[in-house]
Amino acid sequence: MERWQPVSVLSNIRRGEVAGVRIGGHEVVLWREDAQAATLHAWEDRCPHRGMRLSFGFVRDDALGCLYHGWQFGGAARCRLIPAHPRVRVPASINVRAYTVREHAGLAWVSMEGAEDFPHQQAGWPEHAQPVRTVHVHASVGQVRHAVGIAPDGGMAWHGPVGLAVHEPVAGQAMLHVVRVADGPSALGLSHWAERLRDAVEGGAQMAPVMAELAAGIAA
């Protein structure tokens, strides 16, 4: 089965923005078009020209431009302009490796295997989850998943109005993604809770008291 990785809360990748993320040590660039449709893309974070990270680039006219020499890649991941040779019709073979990406439950999900089915759609998670925050944790994904109660084959754990997901940027580190339903705890309260959770996991503290705060309801 293809793995869908939750890589970012959607509030970190708004219209016209570019963000580099890592998935198991692989560098991936997330970027969102700057026009009306504002489609989200996830590609290999590497310009096919000179290998520059595309996440250092910029979005112009629904294309991602490389910082190094300005090569522009349109939504189909094909190079559409080489500024040093503006009259050249760019060969179709010049393109960036594209991954599949879905927006669901306040999160961006990426399949590096290019999966088209998205099983989490049927998971019954709250329809209109709002992003809170992505927090970096210096602990293994296994530790964090265990701490917040995500089943080995589950994409998220929901604790009442609060949704939690985890992915591994690189071995030994984790990114914890926090979302909530609109009438749940305040974003600020949850953000501070996520910091306490991070500090507890990293410090090897008992997780039960931190998780109990969620059940008791978090104040702002």
Binding site: A19, G20, R22, S55, F56, L67, R133, P169, Q173, M175
Partner: protein, 205 residues
């Protein structure tokens, strides 16, 4: 034609960059005396006193060597917009300015260790990573409260030094994806009039 302000400046030094960036953002003009600290003492500008390292800002008989103090000096010039040291948020601005000064010293020391070696080495990063994490937590909370900047409704001198710390920590293998709130704030910094770069700080992104 002289500005009355002289900056002894060493281009690749991160403290000097912080000063150039702050002065440029505030629209303060100055004369530059380039001081290459890799050269022998006798090849450095005569005005630099023994033991002094750039940045040094000289204005008449005022002589300032600390980036945080230079930021305050510039922000208090009559021609500079009050927002850079907004009286309504002065204590928050000064608090983060001091935080930024210490973090900038940590960045400078870590970069000197990393780049001063024959082979690139990664120095102990604990204190710098802790400072970046505090900045990330702070800017996450600020964003949720609807604020774009570190300490005031507009950009202030509190934003300048933390920007340099975040931007150049990339040289020390601090990955951008660990600090999403700082990435979004740094992007706003780049859009400010007068923003300038140094090697290691890309023009975009």
């Amino acid at each position: 034609m002289t500005t009355g302000l002289t900056l002894y400046d060493w281009t690749p030094d991160v403290r000097c960059y912080a000063v150039r960036l702050g002065l440029s953002l505030m629209g303060v003009a100055y004369d530059t005396r380039a001081a290459d600290m890799d050269l022998p003492t006798f090849q450095r500008p005569a005005g630099l006193r023994p033991g002094e390292r750039p940045p040094v800002l000289v204005a008449g008989n005022v002589r300032i060597t600390r980036p945080g103090t230079i930021m305050q000096f510039a922000a208090r010039q009559p021609a500079v917009a009050r927002a850079w040291l907004d009286p309504a948020h002065e204590w928050a601005i000064l608090d983060w300015l001091d935080f930024g000064t210490v973090a900038l010293d940590m960045l400078a020391a870590a970069r000197d260790l990393a780049f001063g070696a024959t082979l690139p080495v990664l120095p102990p990063m604990g204190a710098l990573v802790a400072a970046l994490r505090r900045m990330e937590d702070h800017m996450s909370a600020r964003a949720m409260a609807g604020h774009d900047w570190f300490a005031a409704p507009a950009a202030s001198i509190a934003d300048v030094l933390p920007f340099v710390v975040f931007a150049l920590s990339a040289d020390l293998e601090v990955e951008r994806d660990t600090c999403p709130a700082l990435r979004r704030w740094a992007h706003r910094m780049r859009g400010l009039p007068g923003f300038v770069v140094m090697p290691g700080v890309p023009d975009y992104a």
